[in-house]
Amino acid sequence: MTTASLDLFAPPSGSNGTTGIRSSAARFADIDPAMKADLEVYEAQLRRMFEGKVPDGVFLELRLRYGVYGQRQDGVQMIRVKIPLGLLTLEQCIALADLADEYADGISHVTTRQDIQYHNVDIRDTPELLRRLAHVGITTREACGNAVRNVTGCPLAGVCTGESFDITPYANATAQFLLRHPDTQDFGRKFKIAFSGCASNPCGLTGIHDIGAIARIQDGKRGFKVVIGGGLGSVPHQAKVLYEFLEADQLLPVCQAISRVFALHGNRKVRSKARFKFVVEKLGLNKTRESIEAELPKLPHDARWTEEFVTQEALLPAEALKPPSTLDVGAQSPAFQRWYRTNVIPQKQAGYGTVQLFLPLGDISSDQLRALVALARGYVKEGIRLTVEQNIVLRFVTLADLPALHAALEPLGLALPGAETIADVTACPGTDSCKLGIASSRGLAASLHDHFVANGEAYDDVKDLRIKISGCPNSCGQHHIANIGFFGSSRRVGDHVAPVFQIVLGGTTQENGKSYGMAMGKVSSHKVKDVVERLASTYKRDRTGQEESFTDFVGRIGKVKTKEILEDLTEIESYEARPELYRDNRAPREYGVNVGVGECAGGIVSQVEFLLDDADRGIWQATLHLDALQRTEAFTAAREAMRTAAKALLTTKGYLLSDRFDLVTEFKKTFVDAGKFFAAYFDHLATAEQDDPAALTDEALRFRVEWATLFVEEAHVAYGRQ
């Protein structure tokens, strides 16, 4: 058969042997031996999987360990490329651009953890793709799966005016030391580590990590404040202080000991309770510390505990291409000045600036990346860094070069002003590719991006606000630490289901993500823009002064007033009145399930909706009680909201409210065991039935209210799926 004879609309297939796996092993024989060994294992297992010789579950965990992640769409994979601290040489950037073109969509996506992700990759291409990455010194090993994920850190490390010292060699040494380490291979869940050069700025976000290390100098010695057990997810935990000061040469053994404690005490049965934050919660901070310190003497001495820092310091010199210079910013064009204000950060090295390239939705095309490399060669020496804000920085640009650099970035679409402002929206993949996505976080981010491009100057006075979006409660978009956060959910109205977003207010990225926001009610995905406009204009008008932060402002006016401000926007009109509300942002088809009309279940439908609305109200009451420190009332309202939501769903299965039944047992049997309700959220109801509110700490009480919110949201989603 030749292609000439083929139907134009049926692509030819069936060649390339039994699996069509692209390998290229022989061409890349010279790669790092450890990476080579990894890839031999990966390719052998992939081949065995195609031959039916490896159970799917075993291959799944293996491929995750190599950064190969299933997408929502069958038949294609997301590849997560681990870039410690987001550090890339220009040669590596070229390789990344080429691989995005050849194996993916021509896009490199920068994640909130300084990785690069490719989407829509054929699994049969992965051995060749991974070898080509290894050829330029990049591994995907432990980028996904139950392992130490990418180690992140401030992109300004080494150039920041406020840092204690440059964390780059320490963070990179930690990444290299823990990679493939025997003590990190037996976790029940993922494990995340972040470094920050100071305690006050948000770049490291150490408070939301399993281990956070914040640079400190004490008595002339370098060391770290070490925090543990933080994490976002559906219920966020603030990291707790393990050591106020740990000398730098103790850092790696302590990280190793923490890894062992996680492996020993982590919950392996219940995935939603398996993160390290639950170990810290279960053991308590003191017992966790004792367990870590009990592991330390057992560790055989390892020369890398100190040598690795030296190795990394030598590998990663911070160097400028050109001598320092000065620039009269006021003499430049208005467009330059606007860009300079938000996208250039003066360095501690006088005469140099760090330039931040704002990438909408964290995406950069291969053409842009290649052009950026060609440009960067004329301005910087050390390569680029990816940021947790899904952007790119170029460091050590001599100041006099900035106007020329700005002019050269403009035609590439890489000179957008507004980096790390309200316009720089963070979003997780959401329903575009994530299996757990409920609403389109990227579609919403793209719509907001258009809005800010068109109306950017209207937000100049409130540009420091940050917006972060997750497609579900799991918080990969970090909505809890946004000033204005959103997470995806759904609402059924009659026979149609609408995509909605829960509004989460009161979080902050400041002080490494020190406070988390709380849910404030939901809004159609098409009205989010109006919510942002309303909140921004109210804040601008009513704040007590420039120094009042948005988080303080929301706290001052209170939840009731905030809800009043947004009240008219929270209505979800019927499908008949506004059909566009039942289609997600930038989505081609109606969202969710349309169950048709005319069934005699009309009465039941109205009852379930009525009860779910009651549950929403209960959650709202619980948050108000929590604010007012009415502990028992908050707990009771949260528990009742869950009970009401559970009853609501049971009514759709023929249960009558007047029936006598054990709610927890029947709900479990009917929904949880049948796979129609997320089991981890059900646990929240079961736990609440046993809890004594008087015995709960303040943090545990807040968790109960958050759990109840998640339970009720899941009830809405489960109802939408029916």
Binding site: P11, I364, D367, A446, R586
Partner: protein, 200 residues
Amino acid sequence: MQQSEHSGDLQRIQVKVFLERPVGFSGDPFIAILDRWRAEDNAAAAPAQPWIDFVDYAHVKDGPGILLVGRELQLSLDLGDGRVAITLRGRRDLLGTDTERFTWALRRALATTNRALADATCPPGLAPSHLELELSVNDRLDFAPGPETEARLRGPIHATFDACLGAGAYTSIALPAAAARYGYVARSLAPRALSTAFGG
């Protein structure tokens, strides 16, 4: 035999059919168009599902645009270089000689362009004036720009252009180094309709 010295398997063929970009152009209607194609083609090919999903990169300036991702190829409304094109990117499973593969890919891209332009929701004004076509290879491992690739593929690419546009009826230039892939762009000497390709 054209590929005697070079053993690479030609799969990642990229074809662009360039279109005039109307003033105020928005590619957004292609979200619905490509999604409709996905549903129609998958229904027609059932149980095979040649198309996986559409992807929206319209927010990336001069980027890949709006894509329909398939198992063997991708189609897109391509916004690269500030232009508009219907682009086909082969991924795997092409058979035949190099010329046959280029020809199949080009015919397929032209048929796709016709299908797009005939769609009632296609943005008005989107059409070719001259026939302007790119044939390139998105494979830097086996077909990096250079003399070996030139020796193997220049002939098949131009044989394909000859068949499509008529020998002597077009000019062709090699892709610039910045494109970082091997290939040529051909442009008909005179304005031409799509229907005149491959002898009408």
